[in-house]
Symmetry: C2
Subunit: 150 residues, 2 copies
DNA sequence: TTGCGTGCAAAGGTTTTGCATGGCA
DNA sequence: TGCCATGCAAAACCTTTGCACGCAA
């Protein structure tokens, strides 16, 4: 019989990510966060789970400023053609910016420069509002309660 | 005495990169390309050389779609605030797109969304002109004679 | 002669894979 | 019972570091 099994780990990771939708986690951060919730999840399992979410298009994968793979759960309803992905080089988080300039930019780059942009995969880098304020930053743990939109 | 030494490896790598300005190489690709030119350069040396170019601002470092570190030599005269960096997800090369929309976009994102973009670090992903034409692509070796502007 | 540069080998860190065991259906 | 899922350990990968030797100045 073919099909996926519902396991404790998957159920809990899914719940956790849904509760922290749009936040960004590396596999290790997720595993650690799960442990903090009282659910031990192996690193391998976290990797496999996050990869499967990406395959199902319910999460997005990207590399943060240090080259670490991080994942952002969006539940499948993120219409990523319509917003920019902006990543803060300081805290490592990624945000969505809903903006009418996205389509304008895509159109322009194709019409004038022949380049077919994939907005889902493109990431603008810079400083988010919080990190511009200075201070010592929040590290790149992705768990600081920030949500996915600027 | 403080100062840099001019060695055969540095001289040859510099020459090669200048001849292939704006093309993208990983350390391994560079080492292999040098070998093809009859100059053996250790992988470590290639890494160190490319990193030093980045420190001197004569090259830029980025990660391609597979997470590999790749370097683009631009000789220091690239005014990267004024163009987009667009990376082809198929061939892995990065191109510059001189475009007046860059500053417009930066201004807009800051004014309307509070995000301070760093155009030098930002990479738009998609398909370059060549790869849109289909065919089997050229692989990601960065040595296919393409130059850095679309 | 001095000390920077080189390249091998080894270490480092992240992600993936192999495999025996455990758990869902 | 039959598979799928899990997690440990090990492998795979890319990149960086340590160190002895070579070479530029």
């Amino acid at each position: 019989m073919r099909g996926e099994y519902q396991t404790r780990q998957k159920r809990e990771m899914t719940r956790f990510l849904a509760e922290h939708a749009m936040q960004c986690f590396s596999a290790e951060e997720l595993a650690r966060a799960m442990e903090a919730e009282g659910v031990r999840v192996g690193l391998t399992t976290a990797y496999r789970f996050l990869e499967s979410l990406c395959r199902q298009q319910t999460a997005r994968r990207y590399q943060d400023a240090r080259g670490l793979l991080r994942y952002q759960y969006h539940g499948g309803d993120a219409d990523c053609e319509k917003h920019f992905h902006v990543m803060c080089s300081r805290c490592g988080n990624m945000f969505h910016v809903d903006c009418e300039m996205v389509s304008e930019l895509s159109r322009h780059l194709y019409a004038e420069h022949g380049f077919r942009v994939d907005a889902r995969e493109s990431v603008l880098v810079g400083l988010c509002r919080d990190c511009q304020k200075g201070g010592d930053g929040h590290g790149a743990d992705g768990t600081s309660g920030r949500d996915g939109d600027l």
